[in-house]
Every structure is written in structure tokens, then in C-alpha cells.
Symmetry: C2
Subunit: 282 residues, 2 copies
Amino acid sequence: MENKYIFVNDQFILHTEAKLHVSDLSIQRGYGIFDFLKTIDFHPVFIDDYLDRFYRSAKEMNLEPPYERNELKSLVRQLIEKNNIANSGIKLILTGGFSEDGFTITTKPNFMMVQSPLNIGNESFEKGLKLITNNFQRQVPSVKTIDYLQAIKTWPQVIGHHADDILYHKDGAVRECPRANIFMVKGKEVFTPKTDILRGITRSKVLSLETAHLNITERDFSLEELQTADEVFITVTTKNICPVLQIDGKPVNEGNIGEITRSLSVLLQQLINKDIDSKNGF
Amino acid sequence: MENKYIFVNDQFILHTEAKLHVSDLSIQRGYGIFDFLKTIDFHPVFIDDYLDRFYRSAKEMNLEPPYERNELKSLVRQLIEKNNIANSGIKLILTGGFSEDGFTITTKPNFMMVQSPLNIGNESFEKGLKLITNNFQRQVPSVKTIDYLQAIKTWPQVIGHHADDILYHKDGAVRECPRANIFMVKGKEVFTPKTDILRGITRSKVLSLETAHLNITERDFSLEELQTADEVFITVTTKNICPVLQIDGKPVNEGNIGEITRSLSVLLQQLINKDIDSKNGF
């Protein structure tokens, strides 16, 4: 990544040069928001949805983004062109800015865009995921803050259990994974929690899928109910739909990838292809 | 502050030069811990207590401090000498370090020490504080993490109510202020919450005060009980003891500073003076 560009505030600079003064409120107080979108074949997929959320998060946290939507889209395009990475993740970060007293928001936020290579293959889908559960409620759940204290603190348990990710629940009520949403299939019904979660863009796309035989809706459910689901999958920008085959050591669907998960994955890919073909915003 | 020194990782550098690469996990994921001690007349007050907590916080968050206690004390002393600020706050920050994937702890933490002038006068004591309450439980409450999302997000309400600080409660159970602990006086009993709070160093010093006529203990209490207290005060490194004269617009002790608050403040000052005289660690 050393010869790649990062955008910081008002300029493209080389990866190695991208630094922030330590008085920034992200370093001092963990204060900031971000968003993360992907490019496929140089096209930023569903960019308007991600920017909608980026601006909503900023507003909720009293941070004023330095660019309007069209300026920001133009900067994303310039970043893609400069770095020449076809398939990538692009992270937009907006921090609390430099603060003289290390607490009060006094200056404009600092804004960054970082691009990294990303390949979404079939491999991770076919392998599926093992989750461990963790009783935790994200603070300010509707906002994509930079707060991942609990996830990173808990990660040694993921490694220790040879698992792939964490599933948060609040006293038994299923919420989300730290960086993904969760879905459960029961017969012809597909549910995803609706309370105190981040509304993922991939989640919203799955909720929007039109199928003749399935009913896909928001509804809260318990860990107990999840353990008896026919199929479980997560949605996440970096993997689209990915099957969950084990939760806390117990197999889901006898450890097999379910047919509904497969069919929704195909439908989601069609939606993504349609967005790529539309050349929306570019 | 431009001509003052900040210590970053392994060197003293000028304030303006103190920068971190944006791949640090504090910027990417709000991951880090810190501690904050004060110097009076070039003496770091209760430094061993603050370093105890600093090392405990680091361990709890799986971060390995780059210096042992005696090395760290030596660096604190060098910082005080270089900057030549008699009365100050010194902040030690330990972040998740640089991370290639922006999530996983892969390198050593980044360590910083920042010194700022601090004057503890009688003025803030005599003025007292107005608090507004906020239903919120800090995550990882026993650790001094850099997470102040809720406090900074809620700060416009503090300003809007012409208040001075926030008091967190969890569904009515009093916890703490974002950067201070709270005490309540009822007759000859003095209480401070014991559940899911940060164990402040000034709090622990007040709990250790020996008085013939008072019983100072840890005990949880409700907002309702707090509203009927004889006296309320907070403890915080930057102000020692400071009276609370109003909570959510309602006066405490008819808006007067209580006698027990005054007497405990004198006893605490004696304890601080004793520590300064001891020249402990320096």
C-alpha cells in the first residue's frame, strides 16, 4: 500500500505520509464516524446509500462533513483513478477534529479516505462462518461510529474458539455482528433484527429483494429462536451474503449451506450487477 | 503549547510535530486507553496510583505498555523537566497501534505523553457545579478507555441547559460523570456508587480519609435518593473535590456548599500536600 494514495482533508497524499496530529479527538476520545463501500471493476457499488448513511452518521454526532455529496463523489472517483485498484474497499472517516483541550469539539472534523484491495470470491461463501455470541449492546447503535472497543477486546475469544466472528445479543435478544447484520430463515420466512442495530446497506438490499416465495422482514428474535433456525446468514459489504454454519459450537442446518441462503445470494448479486451496469454517479 | 514537548513512542518531539499515521487503531476503531495525573509544583501527585490503573487498563484491553513502571516514571520526570510547567495535567495514551487491516491488533501499541498547564484554584470550588442527568452505562466501565462518544455527543445538551457536566445513571441507578466520580452526603454518611464505574484515584483518596465523625463508603443509590441528599460533590483529578449545587435544574442543599464537602476538601488537600512533601518517586 506504500505507493497508494490516501485523501486527507483536502489533498491526496501517499499512504506513508497520511498522519494526524495527536490532538485529534479520535486519538484523544475515540470520537468519529466512518463508512465503508466497495468498488467492483472500478465502480463504487450503491454509493448513494453509503453516502446517505455517512451524512446521517455525521449529523447525529454533530460533525460537519467538509464536502457536499457531489464533491465527495468526485473525490471518490479521483481516488479510484489515482490508485487504479479495480476491486477495493473505500473507507471514509470523519473524526472530531483537533481539540485544544482534548475534549471539546472546537475545529472542523478531519476527513480521510483510504482504499484497500478487496476480492469477494466464492471461497468465503462456501466455507461459511462460525460465530460466538457475546452479551453486548453497541452504544449509539444507529450510527456507524468508529467505536469497536468491545469487538477488538473480545477478539481473543474468537481466536480461542477457532471462530470467525462475534454475534452480539442483549440479554438474549439477537442484535448484530460487530461489522455485519444477521438474518434467520424459518420455513419461507426470513427475519433480521430491527431494534438497536446498525442498518447495513447490504441488509437493506436483502430486505428489498423481491421473491415470489419468501417473506423477508425486520423482526426481533432471541438466541434460542436463532438456534432452531433452518438457515442463518450474515450480510456485510465485504462479503455480500455469507452463510453461518455454527453458533457457539452448535451446527446450523447440520452445518450445511441452505438453499434459501444460496438463492438470496444469487438475487443480491444480480442487484449488484445491475448497479454496476447503471454506472450510477460515474 | 507549540514550543512544548510531547513524548511519542520513544522520543520527545515538539507539540506541532506529534502525529500518528492514520492506520492507528484509535483513529480507525476508537481503540485505546489513557490515564491522567496532575503535577503540583513539579511533583506528580499520587503517581503510583495512576500508573497502577494505567497498567491495569492496558492489560484488560490486551495492550502491552512499552515501558516498565520505573522507566515510565523516569520519562514523566523528563517531560516535566523539559516543559518546565509546575502545575499541569499529564495525559498518558496507549492506542491499539498501527493495523494493516484497520481492525486487528498486529503491532505494538503507540504510546504518548502530553502535558498541559492546569491550575486548581478555589474559584471552581466556590462556584460549584450544575449537572444534567443522562441514562447511559459506560462500556468496559472499570477501564479508562478513550471512549467518550456519549459525553461529547451529549455535550450540546450541557451547553443548552447552562450546566457544567453530565451525570450518568443506568435506568435510575447513579453511576458517575464522564470524567469524575460522584458522592452523596446523608447525615453523617457519605456514599459513592460502587457498581459499573471507573474507580477514580481522587475517589479512592476520599474513601481513604479518616474522620472521627463520618462514615465514607461505597454504596449504590438512585437518582431519587440523590435528589434528597444533604450534600453532593464530585471528585476529579483536575478539581479534587467540587460541590454539586444543582441537578437537572433542582437545587442541592438549597444551592449552598455543604460543611461536610468543605471539610472533606480540606482533608483531601492535606493528603495531597503530604504526597507532595514525600517527593514519592522523584
